[in-house]
Symmetry: C2
Subunit: 892 residues, 2 copies
């Protein structure tokens, strides 16, 4: 004989939390609570095994099921003191599904089972509330008819409406006991009409009908679709939970409430919640009545006029306190609990891990570790790394009113308000006057960098989470909303508009880079405070993680921020950003439009000291930490002017004819700049550019080495390499510059030469490339673009649709595509280390700041991740979670 | 004792052609000829092993070398009847390097070794020509000083100039014996000055000096660089050949000549060549004297007044005929031979496989197979597949004068002349009037297709061998020169210019798509004739090849051409080309600018019958052969108008506001269209487009199935898939259309649904994709673009430089990059077949017509290659060569 039924209640349980596979999540948790001798309404669980047996036998139950179910009912009766179908003192039960995996809203539930024409009277008598009894009856009929008999609940709502209209009433609460009694009759008639039989009066018949329906719902279309989308195997089956109903609305000695064992907003260690006297669970959340505080302290703190539970039900409250403490001690995490008090007796309906803000998660984790409830590793696993973002950026005052204009992508967190400007020059000018500005562009380009720096926030109408605007804004720690497609920008008129609202240059808007919202006017923000708790958690993270965390930083300000956040070096310093400075862009353009190498060299000679100065500053800030400098990467046309006026100005400055300049601009134009003449291809076409940069790096390194009395760890990184020969060609050039510098200075700079692995071919040929390359840094932005053949700047058009249609599970520019791009990373790591066992491996794409991607990097054996300064703490925590094998808190 | 020296001559040889590794190419060939008892001047080879031993012992010879070398000299003396250093009858020798691999011009040679102050007189006496003797002496000094003593030959040329100036003479031929005698003295003085010793008079000393120099040259910088660039291992070493000198300029019974055993131009089986009485080898090629024909027949055919060798030296001629016949019979290929007659005695100096035109290669291979000299497999291996191009396209008359304006890339073979036009409309209009036009564009886009069809040839100033212009032109069989960067096009003025030459619209130019030349005026062309020989070779190819050959064809004309050339189906029918027709583009644009799905559907409903008609025609032509139709691939903006006038016209036609149209154009604009909203991404965004195309295919297939009484093999191909889900999503749509059509017609179309593998991710996830995909077609153009991260339209900028610098060995858009892209193809093939063993695999990129890439496809186990119609014969031959393991004829 198989055991199909597991009972719980009355301070004991046949199951436990470990038996989730057999009892489903809900059944296992109820058993666990009951096993803790907490006051759980008694009940039993029919196992998932039965579900499989049911379907294997073509929807027939095994012979021994009925006896076990009825024995379960008898046990509830015994423990609860009521009897199924007994008119005076009827037992009512709920029948609920509950699988191994949560399938919210997908499966069915029947409440109040056991009411019939006889027991409804007993219920009225027992509760002293006829209205309650008949309302419960009509709810039961409606639910049962829908779930078990397949009668559309729409019919019943219509009948209810008709009755209300006839009586001139509007709200359900207007109806009295007589109304509900009448409606029960009307409903029963409807059932007879639609189902062709009377509504079942026998509670046992009701029970089997409900059990059949719940097991049957495992195979309904919604459930099948949900399982397919969430990769839940059909063979898991569902369990069925049958449990005594308890009521918080049977009088003034009844109540119902919800509570958190700690403050879910701040994380403070205090009991926190609300309750209502003589009410049902729904009433607490429905907001019709104002809930009362649980504790006296809370009442006083809130200045509430409503009595607290501690005051009105001191004994039950004391019991509840014991229960919540037991639950927290048992589950070792903050719990979200639901309880009902029926006739002065406390019943626990549910406990689960409570949702909390990022700040609360952090505080609770650290507090619990310090209380000895959990260890450091568990504490680290309790905080969602990405949520730290909230703690590092100013956020909108949650209480402030806001008029949302449009919604774009939450491209860089934080909130900012300011006057709208439409170009970088205006942004710089207004900011210089002390104004806050929001730079609004259709999309940004490297030329806008200085304006982005000057602005409080950036808004673009085109481009995704990894567009230029998004990447640069995150790097700078500027809030950014990108791809707000519903906003139209008219540069000529100097306006933006959404729907029928138009905002002119100089008017104020607010953007929330955490939600993507764009709002009219200035919405107040709140500044974050980095608590000591934060520092403690970070220190624990640093103790366990294996991955180093570097930062992507191009400016001294970025580098300083990153060090403060705990970065262990610069993993990516993009040198091109250094050339967009107003003074330098002129020289850069002269270099580009030069007629020959001599002309280029002359301009480069003027750029050399500027570039050297940049590196000196960065090396000073990073001191003994490694600094990876990527040589010039973007195509030259990105530096050239677009408007006729600018062209004329550049031509004059460079001493070339306007015609020559136009020709040069035309000549450099590209159909697909992402796949064009950029990266190491520039270095091979114009070796003098890379020579100048290498010289600037080496001279700066020697200078700072002298100042610090210890060598600077310069790492020269060649971008966009596709083959061994490209790398060798340029490494030879760079080594020759080092020789030159060493000869001139009498001292040799310490440096490594490595490459980005950002093209599929480079990943495949990594074994060859590593013969000369001393480190690899995975440029997973470009590697994702080329592996998928998707331009991140153009993908907003269809990736959103892909996500909506389920064609993609996650945007591969946000979280590394481990199956495709990840395989290339793994191949490159293996082949690279095969050729050079001590090859240093890192990642410097945007994925370096994404927790799931960081976990992948840990598994792939990388040495470090590099991310934007504001993501460094996130990366440190994610790296720690990867090291301890935690996947972060469940986000259910 | 090791054997370091191998002798040859006098009808015997210690070596043979098989000993190339030991004796080097030259030594092995001389030994082979001698072994055939042909009259080869006697000599010996010092082995490559000695070279290794020499370097292993830090440039010291083994003790036993000297004896062996001197024994070799004694053997030459014995056989030749002259003696080294003997004044009356001196032996002169040449000392030449010769490695396993040819390293042309990289290593050193010394001729006339053995002359000194004494033997020069003997040489004068023996030849009866003092001028010859002293000229030979001064040449020897000059060469020896350069090669052995390291004295720059520039010094000697200067001295010679000084002498000539002093004597008022201009040409070397003006100098007499006395002059040369004086110059010898002057040269010897120079040697004494520069080298600090006298010019060596002892022939043995001369010999060892030359041997040292040749072995030493293996490690000179030029040689090291050449080996590095050509992957020749240093350990191979070089051999040294010492051989008796013979002279064709010792009198009227002396001669020298070159000959081919068959006509290298036509391939006709007749002895073909030239000779000169009393001349040196250089004289024949130098063109100072007009060479005489070899045969009487040739003299008569040419109407030459010069006597033939057959007539003036009948006995030696007869001997030469025997020799050439023996050589051809032995080497079983057409030979290019050099000979010298010294005092009535024939000496063979060299034989090698003769270079020939494509037509000759074809004829010789087929003739020799029919003569029984070689088998079919060998005949197939004798023809360079790519050379067949010359036979299929009109070519410029080689004798015509030409004024070259500029040179671009030879993008599509064949030559064409016509009036210059700068847009597709003009091309169409003029062509309709019966004019020949050349369409000149900076670059072409799909909108230009109708103009390209109308033109005789296409010239672009931007874009590479695989630019849009190049690909489409090759597909159409139109000659094309692309990327002629020195030509500037001014659309407004309607002119093109190169340097100071300007050509206006309507003026005539000629382009040669085989050489890349652009010429002024009309240069006459010659039409090819496809011989029966061609058909025979093709038939043999078809017998042995395993790979099927399909074609890339979008139009009935292409499909017919391809079938004539032997295509076995269509591997790629690009449906987008069908929408550029003047009538259809309007409807297409209406579809694109439609406000919603209903609007799009209305336009698609009008496109359906047109599209169905296209497929009906193609299915009829291809009958039982498979037709692979690729669903719409390019981004929609490619179909939209660019000029304001066109936009206004489209807006009116589509019934939308101009503003709406502008917005739509702006909205569809992309930064990197290659990586944008195209391929299956369109199909997922607008399923109605793919549904229309699928319907057109299925309805057409059923119609033609009815006509032919046998099923049409339609293959529906989904482009740009990166993941299993994309494919499944669209396959479901397509299958649903098939269900609809089957229901409406009462008959189900036979079809397969497969995908392009053109993204690295698709290759990596091929195992998953093949679970539902029924065939893969490798789109190696895009796969190359994404694997390398190189846009083919933008790569001309730097790939040319890469090739010049040796950073790339071959343009990966021309020949498949087997290491990188090839690995992805192999991975996809393996994983795809792992999931579906009968998965059909093909390639439809431009590489499908490249012989080296075809060989790769054969090895990778693909089922077919698909290429442009004019390349089908090339592919058939290349596939045959791959099957028989031939890599085609050596191209030295």
């Amino acid at each position: 004989m198989s055991k199909w039924v597991y009972t719980f209640g009355n301070g004991a349980a046949e199951g436990s939390a470990e038996m989730r596979d057999l009892l489903g999540g809900k059944g296992a948790n109820l058993a666990e609570m009951a096993g803790l001798e907490l006051p759980v309404p008694p009940g039993f669980t029919i196992t998932t095994e039965l579900c499989r047996a049911f379907y294997d036998a073509e929807r027939h139950y095994p012979d021994d099921l009925e006896d076990q179910v009825m024995a379960g009912i008898r046990q509830i009766e015994a423990s609860f003191g009521t009897r199924f179908g007994e008119a005076e003192n009827p037992l009512l039960v709920s029948v609920r599904s509950g699988g191994r995996a949560s399938m919210p809203g997908m499966m069915d539930t029947v409440l109040n089972l056991g009411i019939n024409d006889a027991t409804v009277e007993g219920l009225a008598a027992a509760s002293g509330d006829e209205r309650f009894a008949y309302d419960s009856y009509r709810r039961f009929i409606q639910m049962y008819a829908d779930v078990v008999l397949g009668i559309d609940h729409f019919h019943f709502e219509e009948l209810l409406e008709t009755h209300k209209t006839g009586r001139g009433l509007t709200l359900d609460t207007d109806l009295g006991a007589e109304d509900w009694r009448t409606i029960v009759e009307v409903f029963k008639r409807q059932v007879r009409e639609d189902a062709g039989t009377d509504f079942p009066q026998d509670p046992e018949e009701q029970l089997w009908g409900a059990i059949d329906a719940v097991f049957g719902s495992w195979m309904n279309r919604r459930a099948i679709t949900y399982r397919k989308l969430n990769d839940i195997p059909e063979s898991w089956g569902t369990a069925v939970n049958v449990q005594a109903m308890v009521f918080g609305n049977m009088g003034e000695d009844c109540a119902t409430g919800v509570a958190f064992t700690r403050d879910p907003s701040s994380g403070d260690k205090r009991f926190f919640g609300e309750f209502l006297i003589n009410a049902q669970g729904e009433d607490v959340v429905a907001g019709i009545r104002t809930p009362q505080p649980l504790t006296r302290q809370a009442r006083e703190a809130e200045g509430s006029r409503l009595a607290s539970m501690e005051e009105v039900m001191p004994e039950v409250f004391a019991e509840l306190v014991e229960v919540y403490q037991a639950l927290e001690a048992h589950y070792r995490d903050m719990q979200d609990i639901e309880f009902t008090v029926q006739r002065g007796r406390l019943w626990m309906l549910q406990t689960r891990t409570g949702k909390r803000t990022a700040a609360a998660a952090l505080k609770i984790a650290v507090d619990m570790a310090e209380e000895g409830l959990i260890d450091h590793a568990e504490a680290l696993g309790r905080v969602e790394p990405a949520s730290l973002d909230q703690l590092l950026h100013p956020t909108l005052d949650p209480d402030a009113e806001r008029q949302v204009l449009a919604k774009g992508l939450p491209a860089s967190p934080g909130a900012a308000s300011g006057q709208v400007v439409f170009n970088a020059e205006d942004a710089e000018a207004l900011a210089a006057d002390g104004e806050d500005v929001i730079l609004v562009r259709i999309e940004t380009s490297p030329e806008d960098i200085h304006g982005m720096h000057a602005a409080r926030g950036i808004l673009t109408t085109r481009g995704g989470m990894t567009s230029h605007a998004a990447v640069v804004a995150r790097g700078m720690g500027r809030p950014c909303v990108s791809g707000a497609g519903l906003i139209r920008v008219d540069y000529v008129a100097g306006t933006l508009s959404a729907g029928d609202v138009t905002v002119a240059r100089g008017e104020v808007i607010t953007i929330d880079g955490g939600s993507g919202e764009v709002m009219l006017g200035r919405v107040p923000t709140v500044q974050p405070e980095l608590s000591g708790t934060f520092g403690r958690l970070m220190a624990w993270a640093d103790e366990v993680r294996r991955l180093e965390v570097r930062c992507n930083a191009d400016t001294p300000a970025d580098a300083r921020t990153a060090r403060e956040f705990g970065a262990q070096g610069i993993g990516l310093c993009r040198t091109e950003h250094m050339f967009f400075d107003t003074e330098r862009i002129v020289t850069m353009r002269e270099m580009i439009v030069a007629e020959n190498e001599a002309g280029r060299q002359a301009a480069l000679d003027r750029l050399l000291p500027m570039q050297r100065r940049d590196f000196i500053e960065l090396f000073r800030i990073m001191a003994d930490q490694p600094v990876t400098v990527r040589l010039l990467d973007p195509p030259l046309h990105e530096f050239l002017p677009h408007t006729e006026e600018e062209k004329a100005a550049v031509a004059e400055a460079a001493g070339v004819s306007l015609e020559h300049l136009r020709q040069r601009v035309l000549q450099l134009e590209e159909s697909n700049p992402m796949l064009g003449h950029r990266g190491c291809r520039l270095g091979i076409s114009y070796p003098e550019i890379y020579r100048m940069q290498a010289r600037a790096i080496f001279e700066a390194a020697l200078e700072v080495t002298g100042e610090l009395g210890q060598p600077v760890a310069a790492e020269v990184m060649i971008p966009l390499v596709a083959s061994r020969r490209e790398f060798e060609f340029l490494k030879t050039e760079i080594d020759a510059v080092a020789d030159d510098v060493a000869e001139a200075r009498g001292e040799r700079p310490t440096y490594l030469v490595g490459t980005m692995i950002e093209l599929p071919r480079a990943a495949l040929r990594a074994g060859e490339i590593a013969q000369t390359a001393e480190f690899f840094s995975f440029g997973t932005n470009d590697l994702t673009q080329t592996t998928f053949g998707i331009s991140r700047d153009d993908s907003a058009h269809f990736i959103e649709n892909y996500l909506a249609q389920g064609v993609m599970a996650v945007d591969p520019f946000v979280s590394l595509d481990q199956d495709g791009v990840g395989e290339l990373v793994t191949i490159a790591a293996e082949r690279g280390r095969g050729a050079r066992p001590d090859l240093k491996l890192g990642i410097c794409g945007e994925h370096g700041g994404d927790p799931a991607s960081i976990a992948f990097c840990h598994r792939a054996g990388l040495d470090y991740v590099s991310c934007s300064p504001y993501r460094v703490p996130i990366a440190r925590l994610a790296a720690a979670q990867a090291a301890i094998g935690s996947s972060g808190p469940d986000s259910d």
